[in-house]
Each structure stands twice: as C-alpha cells, then as structure tokens.
C-alpha cells in the first residue's frame, strides 16, 4: 500500500515538474527520417522561425515545441501522437504531412479533448463525416487544389485528360478533386503503389497511348522529382502537357535545377500560397527564411509557419490559460492572425475558406528556379465536404 502511494506521489511529482518546464507546450508531428525528412525539416525550420519571430513567447509565456518523427508511417505517427497526448500532456498537437498519418492519429487527440492543427494533410473524412470542433487546418482540404487545377484546365481549353497519382487517402482525394471541376473527358487513370513505386514507365506509356491531351499528376516528395525526370526522359513535353499539384515545390526545384531538367520551367501548378504573394507577413516570412536557411521556403514551410501563428493568436486571446478550451477554440476559429497567404476565414469544419492561385515555374533574378503567381483561380473557395460535417448542421 505504502509502495503504491509512493509511486503515485512520484508520478504526480513527475507530472507536475513536466508541466512547469515550459508554460506553453506544443507537440509537432512530422517526418524527420526517410527521404521525406526533407519536407519535415522544411516545416521544422519554419516552426522554429515562427517561434523566433514571436521571441519564443505566446501571451508572455515561454513556448516549447516537442517535435516527433512519424517515420512516414501511419502506425508510428499514431504512436508518437499518443506519446504527446498522454506522456507530454500537450494541449495542442500540430503538424502532419500525410493524410494517412493524420487519419490514424486524429482520434487519439480528439478523445483526449485536445486540439489538432494540420499543417498540411487535409483528407476528405476529417473535413466531412469525421469533422471535429477541435480540428483546425492551416493548409487546405485535399480536393481543393486539384479542383482549382480542373478549372484552369477548362480555361486552357484542354479537352481530354489522363490522371495519375499514388494509391492512398490523399491520392484518391486529388483525383476526385480534379474530376469535380474538369469538364472534358477523362481518358484513363492509374493509382500507383505508395510510397514504394518510383518508376512510372508503364503508366506513362499507358497515358500516352490513351490519346489524352494532357496529364494531371499528384506526387508529393521524392516521387515528384522522379516523375518529372521520367516525364522528360520519355519525351512527352508538347505531346502530353503536364499539370500537377503538390509535385513540383521549393524542395524538388533546386534538385531538378542541379540535374538540368529544364523541361520543368514554365510548368503550371495551383496552390493557396506562393513566395511572391504580396502581403507584409509573407514578405517577412520569405525574406527571413531565405536569409536564415539560404533557400526558398516550400508551401509545407509556409503552412507550418502559419500553424504556429494561428496557435499564438489563440493563446494570446486566452491570456496563456490553456484550460479555457472553449475560448481558445473560438479565438482560433476567427483566423485572426497575419497569415502568409493573406486573410482567410474558417468554415464550420475549420477548413480554410481561401483563394487559390495558378503558379508558374520560373527562374528568379539570380537564376534560382522558383515560382510566381500567374492569376487567381478561386476566391474564397469552400471545400466540398463541409455539408457532410455534423458541426455544420
């Protein structure tokens, strides 16, 4: 009996000391090993930059970010989320690149009554049937970016399309997204094994044989670079025009430039953000990121930077008292912070209602490959699943 009490007391003491180590603790789950670590590191750098810009404080209290590595696997992501929720007892878990990792982890956070802020993943389920008041996104719902691309394809007069993407939650959402808005004919589609398949020779041959005018692809991370190379090696430029989402980014461009794959210059993609967007927050973010890390930030970094600032706006509103969850939620739902994409609002499912832009790959004044905005495709676009979300009824 004495022993049990002793252990309990020790446990309490440990818990107490843990919660006093820093005033505001935030868990951040991203990918820090495997080749996808390059995305996770970009986000980690942006999170650290955001904390630095806040002088390490929210509402006058010190901030500690606990980074965890999901190893690019749903089951590990869930384990790390459980650890953050139970052991570290953080009030907010953020991050998540991959839709399948987010879907595996979300329940642990919601069941514990904590907040989950997605810096990237936006699976349809979490926007619709599985929506939760404690969820916020600083990215997008998966369907939105390809929907914007479908619109662009219509405007360009593209009549037929072939779809290609990886076989997991996000890949399916991306295809559904472009199919929602594209008015021409879908000549065929392929879902490839994820994440192990990196050779798309068979799929490219099929796409070419289908007689489609253009190909739409979604290949995030290293698969994106591989796809672009094979597309160029197959000599499909001019024959099967390339339109992509989340495939060409600030992480793949320097590598493609080093390998002199000039075919990617001029290719077009849709996104809610671009380094050239003209607002104060974005200028400060892009210039200080480039100064500190000597490279362009990717959209992953931009969304991670926004995540910390969204949290800061909520923490400021409750004066640093994280037990006031209702006030914290209400404050964050206003999206009242200087987002690098410009002002946006939240829908009932806490997915952003925001603009989507058409971007083009160009060389900047110093010859570095980057992107610029061509035009606005959607203004204040609402994701298509909000109607299925019980919170919206």
């Amino acid at each position: 009996m004495l022993k049990t009490t002793g252990i309990a007391a020790l446990g309490l003491a440990l818990m107490a000391s843990a919660s006093y180590a820093a005033d505001i603790k935030i868990g951040y789950v991203t990918t820090l090993t495997t080749p996808a670590a390059v995305l996770g590191n970009d986000m980690k750098d942006a999170v650290n930059l955001a904390v630095e810009h806040l002088d390490g404080k929210m509402a006058g209290k010190s901030v500690e970010i606990i980074f965890e590595d999901d190893g690019f696997k749903p089951e590990i992501g869930k384990q790390k989320t459980d650890k953050l929720v139970q052991q570290d007892d953080v009030p907010i878990v953020a991050g998540y690149i991959w839709s399948n990792v987010l879907l595996a982890s979300a329940k642990s956070v919601f069941d514990a009554g904590k907040f989950l802020i997605s810096s990237n993943a936006g699976p349809s389920q979490i926007a619709g049937k599985l929506c939760n008041a404690n969820f916020f996104s600083t990215s997008w719902q998966n369907d939105q970016t390809p929907m914007a691309m479908g619109e662009v394809l219509n405007q360009q007069g593209v009549k037929s399309l072939y779809l290609l993407g990886p076989n997991y939650a996000a890949g399916k959402n991306m295809m559904t997204g472009v199919e929602r808005t594209f008015k021409g004919e879908i000549k065929g589609k392929d879902l490839t094994k994820w994440p192990s398949q990196l050779d798309f020779s068979a799929e490219l041959a099929k796409a070419k044989a289908s007689g489609a005018e253009a190909i739409f692809v979604f290949y995030p991370g290293k698969a994106g670079g591989a796809f672009i190379k094979q597309y160029q090696q197959a000599g499909l430029k001019g024959e099967l025009d390339l339109y992509s989402v989340f495939t060409v980014d600030a992480i793949s461009l320097p590598k493609l430039q080093a390998a002199k794959l000039e075919g990617v210059l001029g290719s077009r993609l849709t996104q809610q953000w671009d380094p050239t967007l003209d607002n104060e927050a974005n200028k400060k973010f892009v210039s200080s990121f480039r100064e500190k890390y000597k490279r362009y930030p990717s959209f992953y970094a931009a969304q991670a930077y926004d995540t910390i600032n969204l949290i800061a706006s909520g923490v400021e509103a409750v004066g640093g008292d994280m037990s006031k969850t209702d006030e914290l939620r209400a404050a964050m739902a206003k999206a009242d912070y200087p987002s690098v994409r410009g002002k946006y609002t939240y829908g009932k499912n806490h997915m952003p209602i925001q603009n989507f832009y058409l971007r083009e790959v160009v060389a900047d004044d110093d010859g570095n490959w980057t992107t610029k905005v061509v035009k606005t495709v959607y203004e204040n676009h609402v994701d298509p699943y909000v109607g299925e979300c019980p919170l919206a009824k």
Binding site: T33, T34, P35, A36, A37, V38, N41, N167, K189, D190, L191, T192, K193, S196, L198, D199, S201, A202, E203, A205, K206, A209, K222, G225, A226, K229, Q230, Q232, Q233, A234, G235, I251, K255, L256, A258, A259, K260, L261
Partner: protein, 306 residues
C-alpha cells in the same frame, strides 16, 4: 494496342534486368554461403550515392559509373571481412538481425553524409532523349541502355559461372560446400570474392536506376523484397533461376500494372475495377510467389543436387 504492348514489354524487360542485377548477388550469397543478406539493398543505395557524387565531381555519368564500381566493391569487401565473415557459422536469425542492423546504420550514415533530400543525377545529352525502335514505338534511350547493360552482365555471368575456374568453384560451392573445402579450396577467399561480386552487381543496379528515380535513402529496402521474390521463384542459388525469375517478375509486374484494370473491366463494373486493379496488380508478384511455393517449393530452376 500492339505497340502499347510492345512498349510495356520493353518496360517490363527493363525492370526485369534491374531485378536480375540485384537477385544475382543475392542468390550467389544465399546459395553458396547460405547467408541471408538483407543489407543487399543497402549496397544498391550506396552504389547510387557514390555514382551521384562522382557525377557531380567528374561532370560525366559514364566516368562516375566506372569509378563507383570499384568503390562499391571496396564497401562490399570491407563489409564481408569486417562483419559478415564472422556470421557464417551462426544461424539464419543472426544473419537477419545483423544485416537488418546494417540497413539502419547505412540509412543513417547516408542521411548524415548526403542529407535526407536525395540526389537527382544529370544524364549526358545523348542518353537523355528517346529513340524510335519501330514506327510508333518511341522509347527512352537510357532505359534501352539499362536493358543492354543488364543483358551484357547476364551474359558475362553466364560465361563466368559456366566457363571459368572461379565459376566452377562457385557452382561446386552451391552444390556442396563442405566437399569443396575438403578438397583444399580456399573457401574464405572464394566467399569474399563472391560477396564483393554481389555488391558490385547491386551497386551497378543502383547506379543505373538513380538517373530515373534519384538516389534516395532506403531506396534499396523496397526493391530488395522484390529481389527476394525473384530468387524464391527462380530457385535459390541458381543463376539461371535468378535471370528467368527476374524477367518473369519484371514482366508480370509491369504488364499487370498496365493491363489488369482494363481486363478486370470486362468482368466487373468500372468503379470496382478501378479500385481492385491497383490493389491486385501490387499483389500479383506475391501471388506468383505463393503459387511457386505451393507447387514447386524448390523454385522453377533449382541448382542441381546438394
């Protein structure tokens, strides 16, 4: 349709010869030394990274490959003499544990040296383009280079194993190891040479695929599983089995990815076919393996008598 089939056949052949390069080393090491080398895929990755760095240093992909081959052989030698040699007497579980550990070490070392982002290898202009093989059949030049390299190596190995003294020892070792050493052959040196040969073949495969997919951490871990499928289908320890097995697996995988959903659409509704197609085609090679294990567990072309 027939041109598409021909192109997909070439794509399958390209995957097949690549798998052969990996499976050849795996089957040699497994068949002769009775050693399970999970880290074979790490040598594939190491070859790719050496080649990537050397391409940027020398400015030429071809020079990079020529220099990276002896470097990969050195890594193979060091690995065999430093670690593997001491494990031959242990059982398979110890092999698996040790080489699995080596995979983790290799992945972390590559992460430390080259960073997590991977390297895209630039190809020279004359390899970057496409060639017209037949009217309407246009194929990337570099993939043809891979096919030719693979077939050349296959021929070289056929000659080495069938026509040379070293090959005779290798064959003898695969059939009856104890007898070979009883006859006074320096089995230790033979094992080291065979391991280094396997390392070079795996490294070469990595060098050939890297300009297509990039040199990335863990690139070997995905393909090594397929290479194991190849040697199980072909018959462990048999070079002929590795070659034919690799071509079978390469073709089935590629043709499955290309035509399975269209074939399924004949029998089941389009939506169901689109869901089932990718799922079944990614399982296809394992179904083949299961079939071989059930009806011919020694593989299609097992080495003769033990």
């Amino acid at each position: 349709m027939s041109t598409l089939f021909f192109i997909q056949f070439l794509n399958g052949l390209q995957l097949g010869v690549l798998l052969f390069l990996l499976a050849a080393g795996l089957t040699l090491v497994f068949g002769i030394m009775d050693f399970v080398n999970l880290a074979h895929g790490s040598l594939y990755m190491v070859g790719a990274f050496f080649c990537a760095t050397l391409t940027f240093w020398t400015g030429s992909f071809v020079w990079a490959v020529l220099l990276a081959i002896p470097l990969t052989a050195l890594v193979g030698l060091a690995l065999e003499m430093g670690v593997i040699r001491h494990l031959y007497q242990r059982d398979h579980l110890d092999h698996v544990l040790a080489t699995f550990g080596f995979i983790l070490i290799a992945d972390t070392l590559v992460h430390l040296i080259w960073g997590p982002e991977g390297i895209a290898i630039p190809l020279p202009e004359y390899l970057q383009g496409q060639v017209q093989i037949l009217p309407g059949v246009i194929f990337p030049t570099f993939r043809l280079v891979i096919i030719s390299c693979g077939l050349l190596v296959a021929f070289g190995l056929y000659w080495l194993i069938g026509r040379t003294r070293l090959g005779m020892l290798i064959r003898a070792g695969a059939s009856n190891r104890t007898m070979v050493s009883a006859l006074g052959i320096d089995i230790k040196t033979l094992f080291t040479a065979v391991f280094a040969l396997g390392a070079v073949l795996a490294g070469l495969a990595g060098m050939l695929i890297a300009p297509i997919t990039e040199a990335t951490i863990g690139m070997g871990n995905d393909i090594i599983i397929t290479a194991f499928v190849v040697i199980i289908v072909g018959g462990i320890g048999s070079m002929k089995g590795a070659f034919i097995g690799a071509l079978i697996i390469g073709l089935i995988d590629t043709l499955g990815r290309s035509f399975l959903d269209d074939i399924l659409k004949i029998f089941i509704p389009v939506n169901a076919a689109e869901t089932a197609g990718p799922a079944i085609s990614s399982m296809l090679i394992y179904l083949i393996m299961a079939g071989v294990l059930a009806f011919r567990p020694q593989g299609l072309f097992p080495p003769k008598v033990r």
